[in-house]
């Protein structure tokens, strides 16, 4: 790896890769790195994606983070967001405070829901997202507190819960990627349990296992997460001129 490529760059590329092949849908990123991933994918290999300004508009140009010089190509107030979610024409990348081996996620609360030890965001749009369209996750600090055997509250459905709801739900439900500061994961196993897809440069498989609170599927030869090429890096620097991505992971 060239020395001027950082962990944040690797992570943004992994985020962008999760949108590969999505075509003409709403690529929605919650937070700096997911948003950059969606914008980078659109600016490079997935040009038909729609991306938003995080407020109420689809942005037609390659808008840098924090930029205001936007070409508005559509209006997407919250009501239209919900319509788009339920229609399935969306792939969101969001956070998770806990995730289990089937991809059940929790952003709602830690401890019992009735009287939580820590009230977090609540379920927000997680139930509707995960039952309607592709949902990926970005987790800036992987640990056994986050990668857990059982989540305290299911805000996003994992594959086991989706399977119990029948064929229609299973057709819509998809968790393409989980990206952390250590590695990239998917659920493309026969049992739809989490699989280690690649480790970031300088991270060992043992590091990943030590920070995972459940049994991971691990192949015999785990590749290294890919770095951005020169042109991708140039685009990324244009989309994030102030380097906000470097504050998210280190």
């Amino acid at each position: 790896m060239s020395t001027d490529i950082t962990l944040a760059d690797i992570v943004v590329i992994a985020a962008a890769e999760s949108f590969r092949g999505d075509g003409e849908i709403f690529a929605s990123g919650m937070g700096t790195i997911p948003m950059l991933g969606a914008r980078l994918a659109r600016a490079t290999f997935e040009p038909d994606l729609l991306v938003s300004d995080g407020e109420a508009f689809f942005v037609g140009n390659d808008l840098p983070l924090g930029g205001s010089d936007k070409v508005v190509e559509g209006w997407i107030p919250f009501r239209s967001v919900f319509d788009t979610v339920w229609s399935g024409r969306r792939h969101v990348m969001m956070g998770a405070s806990q995730i289990d081996r089937f991809g059940n996620t929790n952003i709602a609360n830690i401890g019992p829901w009735k009287q939580p030890k820590a009230q977090l965001l609540g379920v927000r749009g997680g139930p509707g997202n995960t039952i309607s369209h592709a949902t990926s996750f970005f987790i800036p600090k992987q640990s056994t507190k986050v990668f857990v055997e059982k989540v305290d509250m299911v805000s996003g459905l994992g594959y086991d819960r989706a399977a119990q709801l029948g064929d229609t739900v299973m057709r819509h439900h998809r968790l393409p990627r989980v990206i952390t500061n250590l590695a990239v994961f998917d659920f493309e196993t026969s049992t739809h349990t989490m699989r280690l897809l690649s480790v970031h440069p300088g991270v060992s498989v043992d590091d990943v296992v030590a920070n995972t609170g459940f049994v991971l599927e691990i192949g015999s030869d785990v590749p290294i997460s890919r770095a951005p090429n020169e042109s991708e890096l140039a685009t990324l620097n244009r989309l994030d001129p102030r380097g906000l991505r470097h504050r998210e992971v280190a």
């Binding site: 508009f57 107030p77 919250f78 979610v85 709602a108 829901w113 009287q115 997680g126």
Partner: protein, 292 residues
């Protein structure tokens, strides 16, 4: 013949009673009818069921012990993710009953209420923690060939509704000028006639509304509104674009004060102990002090 629906904040909230179900428009820390909420805090009304895409409206009502039941899609301050008073209310279990919905489910509950339907079906929420912690939620099976089992989100009907818009005429035809109506029309639609209160930045003539923006912004009509209150800066400290952005400094001060009992008492004395005019003056004074 035109009906002049103008009223005052205090007259509006005086029509509410303890135990009622109140819906509050806006979204998180965006275009919240804060001056109506502040007026409500000046009354003795309690044991409310509050329905909201919550922000500081829910926070303030929880902190003041006015909420018996809370039905929410979330409670957040947007730029500050966690609402401190809501957080302590949940962690100390000071609100007797909480109903937590997926964001889209809450829209469906209000939409069903506004259409006088008993429920609306959706997949959102099925299989999630929302149904795990809410055994009262039922499902319904599609009567068609697919026979799919769907979540039946029960309708919410409101006894009172508060919303804050940018402009209104004296009859309650109202206009939003920002990027999003949120679900204000559904809060008004789900509410029994009589206590549907709309505050606004400015009351204008009916003709003036279309001089300022296109007809697409006229999403609230007078059949949905019982009382209109001109309340400049009434959404403060939440945003009310294009009239003003969120007062981030004040919001940060609110959050800081909420973290400590003594500081919160001081904050209440400084800002929430008088009329709406007193509040606005105290905010203006506070701005001068932090600027100097």
């Amino acid at each position: 013949m035109t009906t002049d629906k103008r009223t005052t904040l205090d007259s509006a909230v005086a029509t509410l009673e303890s135990g009622m179900t109140l819906g509050i428009g806006g979204w998180g820390s965006r275009r919240k009818p804060m001056s109506l909420v502040r007026a409500l805090l000046r009354t003795d009304i309690k044991d409310l069921t509050v329905v909201s895409y919550g922000g500081p409206d829910v926070g303030l009502l929880c902190a003041a012990g006015r909420v018996k039941k809370l039905i929410y899609g979330f409670v957040s301050l947007d730029s500050i993710a966690l609402e401190p008073h809501f957080r302590s209310a949940r962690q100390n279990a000071t609100v007797a009953e909480c109903v937590e919905y997926d964001e889209g489910m809450l829209q469906w509950a209000l939409y069903a209420g506004s259409l006088r339907l008993p429920f609306l079906p959706t997949r959102a929420g099925l299989g999630s923690g929302v149904v795990d912690v809410n055994p009262l939620l039922k499902t319904v099976v599609s009567p068609y060939a697919d026979a799919e089992e769907l979540l039946a989100v029960p309708a919410i009907r409101l006894d009172a509704a508060f919303v804050h818009l940018n402009r209104s005429d004296i009859r309650g035809n109202a206009q939003f000028l920002g990027p999003d109506l949120y679900f204000d029309d559904l809060f008004l639609g789900a509410c029994e006639p009589g206590r549907r209160f709309l505050s606004c930045e400015k009351i204008v003539t009916t003709e003036q509304m279309l001089q300022e923006a296109s007809f697409h912004t006229l999403r609230i009509n007078r059949s949905m509104v019982d009382g209109v209150i001109e309340s400049p800066n009434g959404a403060h400290f939440t945003l009310c674009t294009p009239d003003y952005e969120r007062d981030e400094k004040f919001q940060a001060a609110y959050v800081k004060a909420a973290s400590d009992t003594t500081e919160w008492e001081a904050f209440q004395n400084q800002f929430l102990s008088g009329t709406e005019a007193d509040y606005q003056n105290a905010v203006a004074q506070w701005r001068k002090e932090i600027a100097s």
